[in-house]
Amino acid sequence: MITLLYFAWVREQIGTDAETLALPAGITTVANLLDWLASQSPGHAAALADRSRIRVAVDQTFARGETPITGAAEIAIFPPVTGG
C-alpha cells in the first residue's frame, strides 16, 4: 500500500487530501503513477491533465518522471510551489 498526498489545487480537483492505494503491477516510476492515477476518476484526470503544472515528491524528496517509486511509502503530488 502507498499513501498519496495532494496539495493546493491538485487537492481541490481530486477532492481529497490523501488516499491509500494498492498500486497495480508495472507501476514503477512517477510517470507510470501519474498515467495510472489520471485514469482513476474525472477529478484525477482534470488535476493531472497538464503534467507541466505537476510536481511530485517521493518520500518527501522532489522527484522527476523517471524517479522509481518501488518501495516508497508516501508520494505527494502538487503544483509548482509559490511560497516566499
Binding site: 493546493a8 503544483p79 510551489v81
Partner: protein, 149 residues
C-alpha cells in the same frame, strides 16, 4: 549555522536579530529581508498551505546549503503558514557575517531557494468572495538558477 523555523505566529525582527547576534563580537554586518502580504487590487487575505512532513526539512536543507556555501555566515529563516492579512509578514531571512558581501549574498540565495524549493502554496482571497491559487513565476526559477550556472 543557519536555523530554519516554520510557524503560524508573526515574528519580531528586533528579537530575532538580538537572538542571532547574541554575544558574537566578530560580526560586522546584518542583513534582513521580510516578505509581506501585498494588497493587490482587492485582495483581502492570503492563505499559505504547506506539506507538514516535508516543508521544515526542506527549509533546513536550504539553510544547510547556504551555510556550506558561506561558512562565516550566521542566519535564521522563518516562514509562516495559515491565513494572513494584507501587510502581514510572511517570510523572514536574517543573515550576519564579518563583512557585508557574504550576508547580502547568503540572504538572496536563501530567498531564491525558499521561493522555488520549499513546498508552500499561496491561495488568494478577493473582496468579491472568489479565491485563486497563485501561479509559480518563471522569473523565480531564473533567479534560483543563477546560483548553479
Amino acid at each position: 549555522m543557519i536555523s530554519a523555523h516554520l510557524q503560524a505566529e508573526p515574528f519580531d525582527l528586533a528579537a530575532e536579530q538580538a537572538a542571532l547576534v547574541g554575544s558574537h563580537t566578530d560580526l560586522g554586518a546584518v542583513v534582513s529581508f521580510t516578505g509581506l502580504v501585498r494588497a493587490d487590487d482587492g485582495l483581502i487575505a492570503l492563505t499559505l498551505e504547506h506539506y507538514p512532513a516535508m516543508t521544515l526539512a526542506q527549509m533546513q536543507a536550504i539553510a544547510a546549503d547556504a551555510a556550506a556555501r558561506w561558512p562565516g555566515v550566521l542566519g535564521r529563516i522563518i516562514h509562516r503558514h495559515g491565513r494572513l492579512l494584507p501587510g502581514a509578514p510572511i517570510v523572514f531571512v536574517l543573515t550576519a557575517s564579518p563583512h557585508r558581501a557574504d550576508a547580502f549574498a547568503a540572504a538572496e540565495y536563501l530567498m531564491d531557494w525558499l521561493k522555488t524549493k520549499a513546498p508552500f502554496w499561496k491561495r488568494e482571497e478577493w473582496a468579491d468572495g472568489s479565491t485563486r491559487w497563485v501561479e509559480a513565476k518563471a522569473s523565480d526559477d531564473t533567479a534560483k538558477d543563477r546560483w548553479t550556472a
